[in-house]
Symmetry: C3
Subunit: 208 residues, 3 copies
């Protein structure tokens, strides 16, 4: 068995895959929730649990970073990737919490559509992160980043359409306040996915 | 023709001037829009086009940065300056989009006043950025930064006055929701101009 | 008298203590204000004055940083600590300003409770920062960081409870708009305290 200069690389990739896996799970669970409208204590517990697992993975990545002399990419990129990936699940957690606090129980077609776009985007983030381990995957990483950008634009249009309709059709100002917050939060998930893709993209540029 | 150690410097300054020029154009166009209230598709297209030109300039700056061994200022300052200058036009784009989504068509004196202050501030940002190319201009840079700070304070007071009047006089809660968002967005442009001036200021301190 | 390699260290600690002292004073003053409801011009002046003192201290820290060859911790940690500590007093200033603009004069039990939690958290931040000067204090720093995290969770629950009650009981949408903003701002103070504790924590990890 030989000496390896890069013993830590593999564990970084493993930890990143683990972390982004929790985000995919959270996005899938969020999609299910929007179909039932059951934003209850059990839902809060489940998504909060996933958030803590993601948080633990981020901490482990940063711990390893502080201990490693050699890292697969720039230290600040590793740090930024762990923090931003964690932000995806943080905002999903915040949305479910908001839906619970606002006592939303009805199923809303607009939110279901948003949850579908969010799940697609988080899955593309997972692909981008998973393919970072090998240069030969750079086309797959690129394609995933393009897809994340496309979904962010869809999210912008969806938010504008839904908020426009809200002001047009909803006469109860309290409902306007609530749903404007919810749609804005939902769009923010896609912004954060795009932030992750920018980090991935800049890693790719440096290593191409 | 001799060899120059600083072949890239000039292109950095040229690109920064180009980028901040788009922000000045967007601020001028926004001022015109507030006088007609025509926040329509054509307006969205025009400001979105300027935003893309600014974005391209920012990308070219960052590309050049990755290729250059010698840069006129610290790499992180160049990066931050390109990103923050881009944020000016991003938020102007977001405001015009919001005015369109909220179906605002009436001309509002408060917003016209805001657009004037914004244009003055973005012009001062352009002066500060343009004067960065020579040490002999440091007094001009300083004066522009002081002006940007003064305009940001005027913006704070304007937002507070307008939102105070809104709560006092507007009885329709839906209108309160809409205009509070708009005035807050408008003030944010001035905050971002101040962020740019802080970067410029820190470049000046390091090179004085 | 001998030559010291670390002449600047002591002044950094002194300046950090001074700066965090202003934040403690502002949090104490904010607590008093919530008991009287006197969010008037005099209150604005006082908290704005404290904000300027904190700002001056932050500038002096950054000036010293630019002049120092040797610093007690990483330069970026010193910079981040000065900026984030300043953010505590900035947001307290913004809340008092909002309460003034929204013409809030009534005393609200929820806000009083928030102000108490905020004062406790800012005091814990002061303890954490003050104990950074000696390795032997690392347990005290750790305990303070745990406390700041505990108070941030209490703040989240308090905001959710208060906003939930607001939507349940308050029938005037204008009041809902106002108080939702206020409770969200109040919770943000505790988020910023937690951001400071994360910086303190990362300094501790690097030096342990």
């Amino acid at each position: 068995m030989g000496f390896s200069f890069f013993p830590k690389e593999f564990s970084f990739f493993k930890l990143f895959n683990e972390q982004v896996g929790y985000a995919v799970e959270a996005a899938g669970y969020f999609k299910e929730l929007t179909k039932t409208g059951a934003f209850d204590e059990a839902a809060l517990d489940k998504i909060h649990h996933l958030e803590q697992l993601s948080d633990n993975a981020a901490h482990e990545i940063i711990d390893q970073l502080n201990k490693s002399f050699i890292t697969p990419f720039d230290r600040e990129d590793i740090h930024a990737l762990a923090i931003e990936t964690d932000d995806i699940i943080d905002i999903l957690n915040a949305i479910v919490n908001r839906l619970n606090v606002y006592k939303i129980t009805k199923v809303d077609k607009g939110l279901i559509r948003f949850a579908e776009v969010i799940e697609e985007s988080v899955k593309a983030v997972a692909t981008a992160v998973k393919c970072l381990d090998h240069k030969k995957n750079s086309k797959l990483v690129n394609a995933a980043c393009v897809e994340i950008n496309r979904l962010e634009n869809i999210g912008d249009d969806l938010r504008d359409k839904l908020i426009g309709e809200l002001f047009e059709n909803e006469k109860d100002p309290i409902e306007v306040i609530k749903w404007k917050d919810i749609y804005q939060d939902a769009e923010t998930v896609l912004d954060i996915c795009e932030d992750v893709s920018h980090i991935v993209d800049s890693i790719l540029v440096k290593h191409s």
